[in-house]
């Protein structure tokens, strides 16, 4: 019985590459990984948005309407629905002139209990210290 903790760090804005989206879809895959593992073994995924990566969290992304492409907003909501820990760097939001009002903070409409944690970078650093492996996107 062991748990391996993975930290997914998203540093880049969406739509320039698939990276931020692949970060979220791979993090979500932690929910189905047990088919490969022994009973009781676990892989957890925590997700942190830092730097320009916080732009992935903006509300009202119309990627589906315009480009027939699911938005990072919808993937972020899936993360919350699947009970992943999601952190957004407070300083980076502020630096870009954004506040909690501008970003996805919950997925209540889907019945998700988890909420986005807007936290200082120091807390994200501590999260990284506690992980077994880090994946920077």
């Amino acid at each position: 019985m062991a748990t391996t903790k993975l930290g997914f760090i998203v540093q880049r804005p969406p739509y320039k590459s698939e990276n931020p989206k692949l970060a979220l879809t791979h993090a979500i895959a932690s929910q189905s990984v047990e088919i490969y593992l022994k009973d009781g073994d676990l892989v957890t995924a925590d997700v942190a948005f830092v730097g320009d990566g916080v732009l992935n969290c903006l509300k009202n992304q119309k990627a589906m309407d315009i480009y027939a492409l699911s938005s990072t907003e919808s993937h972020l909501k899936n993360c919350l629905l699947l009970d992943l820990n999601v952190y957004v760097c407070k300083e980076d939001l502020g630096k870009l002139g954004l506040s909690e009002n501008d970003i996805v903070m919950d997925a209540e409409e889907f019945g998700a209990d988890m909420k986005v944690n807007v936290v200082p970078f120091d807390e994200i650093s501590k999260m990284m210290e506690g992980m077994n492996h880090l994946l920077f996107f």
């Binding site: 391996t4 692949l22 932690s30 990984v33 995924a45 880090l134 996107f137």
Partner: protein
């Protein structure tokens, strides 16, 4: 001896990221380590068979097959591949295809994970 899991994501073919991943895999195998290589996003281009070897383009089919012979496990993200029109029938022999949880499972008991994201 340990286990190294390498993930290569969204990197351009034509960047040297895939070349790097393959050469690092070779070096790790050479030293007796176990290596899992996962390719996702655009890096799934690595999985397609019958890539013509021109000297103007990175050509990794041959070194990859040699490394598979030496025990390298290499797996492509199935959805990323299908979305690009890479199907089972045009996948290189020996190249596995799985859903994304395979990468996380590989990381579970890896001693080191090198995730090559970026652009």
């Amino acid at each position: 001896m340990g286990k190294l899991t390498i993930g290569c994501f969204s990197s351009l073919v034509g960047s040297m990221n895939l070349d790097f991943a393959v050469k690092l895999s070779a070096a790790a195998l050479e030293k007796g380590h176990t290596v899992d290589l996962w390719v996702s996003g655009n890096a799934t281009m690595l999985s397609i068979k019958d890539q013509r070897a021109f000297k103007d383009y990175s050509s990794l089919e041959k070194p990859l097959k040699e490394l598979m012979g030496k025990g390298l496990t290499v797996t492509a993200c199935e959805a990323c591949a299908e979305a690009r029109g890479y199907h089972k029938d045009n996948t290189m022999e020996g190249f596995k295809r799985h859903s994304m949880d395979w990468y996380l499972a590989s990381a579970f008991d890896a001693d080191r994970v090198l995730h090559i994201g970026g652009e």
